[in-house]
Structures are given as structure tokens and as C-alpha cells.
Symmetry: C2
Subunit: 132 residues, 2 copies
């Protein structure tokens, strides 16, 4: 089963190369942290802060392409953790079926925040990494 998560906080550091995003369970106490890049962290952060750009930024473009090609982003799923690397999917409804598009969790979260869709994580991943 997949577990509904919320973005708890983003820690953006100008000093360190790697940034942190923390997700917490919506209906429970579990949470975990993912290390992401600076660009992706600032992209998520500006969306959470509702900073509007006049021109579409790169994650706006991802959402724009989905919409223009007739898809509907339903949610994003952090599906796997292998060798310390998280794998995620954009889950897009198109022609009545769900297509899963492989991506990094940082891009998936940035697109989820842009399009205001839920963030899920698989039970297997959460069982492996969650703190309470």
C-alpha cells in the first residue's frame, strides 16, 4: 500500500551542496528525510512560499507539458529505495489509464507542489527508512 505524505520542511543551505526535504505521514507519526540538490530544493521552496515567476520555470514546464499533451497528473509516488537511491514516479492519467513516469523524488515533489497533487510513498520504503 502507498502512504499519503506531506512535505514537512525543506532545509536549504547555501553552504552545503546537498539539501534536505522531510516528509511526514499525513495520518500517522512516521517521517523521513531525503537528500536532494540545491536547484530542486530552491524550486520546491519557492513553490511552497507561493513565489510566482512571470515565466514558467523548469518544473512548471513539466506540469505544462503534461497538461498540453492531455494528461492529468494524479499524484507522485516514491516507490523504491535501492543502494541508497530513491526512485519516484509521476502518475499521470491519460486516455483513461495511469502512466507512471520514472523520475527522481526531488523532481517529483517539485512537480507535486506545483500541480498541488498528493505525495505518496510505498510501505516498503517507509518501513525501511521512517523515524517516529
Amino acid at each position: 500500500m502507498n502512504v499519503h505524505m506531506a512535505l514537512r520542511r525543506i532545509i536549504v543551505s547555501e553552504v552545503h551542496e546537498h539539501q534536505l526535504v522531510e516528509l511526514r505521514e499525513v495520518d500517522g507519526p512516521r517521517r523521513f528525510t531525503i537528500v536532494i540538490g540545491f536547484f530542486e530544493a530552491t524550486s520546491i521552496d519557492r513553490r511552497v512560499r507561493k513565489q510566482v515567476s512571470e515565466r514558467p520555470l523548469t518544473h512548471d514546464l513539466v506540469a505544462g507539458v503534461i497538461e498540453e499533451l492531455g494528461g492529468e497528473l494524479r499524484d507522485i509516488l516514491i516507490s523504491d529505495l535501492r543502494d541508497g537511491i530513491y526512485f519516484a514516479k509521476l502518475r499521470v492519467m491519460v486516455d483513461g489509464e495511469i502512466r507512471e513516469i520514472d523520475c527522481r523524488p526531488s523532481d517529483a515533489i517539485a512537480v507535486a507542489v506545483t500541480a498541488d497533487v498528493p505525495i505518496y510513498v510505498s510501505d516498503e520504503v517507509l518501513d525501511e527508512v521512517a523515524n517516529e
Copy 2:
């Protein structure tokens, strides 16, 4: 008419916030420079250098979404220049017709280099900004 351009060079500076990408006419002498962000510049640069990432980066994701939703990226077009801001479009064939997706030229060029499709600029823009 739209003019076929080639990426002539990218100037990535760790010191300055704004980076430069220079395009030149494929069948002529005209060229011009666009100021872009650091993230987009490094994204273009790593693609030109054929640096492969194990996981899809953000511009790979844009290309991945187009493909997964049944589109075919034909080319990108830098179409307009208004108040010093360049406007671009991804031109995607889907269901037998071309859809034009609004974006910044930096994202458009990064996606063009990723998907290996031509870069065009409109005559009007080139007439306004080109040097020989």
C-alpha cells in the same frame, strides 16, 4: 520564417549569477547571446559534453513526459523577444498536429540538446538581436 540555429558555446561562470549561451545561424553568419540561469547552463553544458546521469535529471524528465504521453518533440523555437525577455516554445507532434508549449529559451535549448532536435529562432527575433 524560422532560422535554423546551432549552439555555438556556453559560458558557465561560478562567479556570476547569469550565464551565457550563444547561438549561431547554421547556414549563415548571424549569431546572438542569451543570458540564462546557472542551473540551466550547467544542464545544457553536461548534455553537450555527453555526461550521462544514472537517474533522469529535470530536463530528461521533460523529454520523458513528452515521450510517455505519446508526443514527439520536433524542434524548439525561440519565437519572441518582449521587454528584453525571450520567449520559446517546445513544438511537439501529438495526434497528428503540432502543439506549442510555452517555455523559457534556456529550458527549450536544454530539452533540444537532450532530445537531439533542431533549434530555431524566428526571423523577427534574429533581425533584432543578431550580430555578424
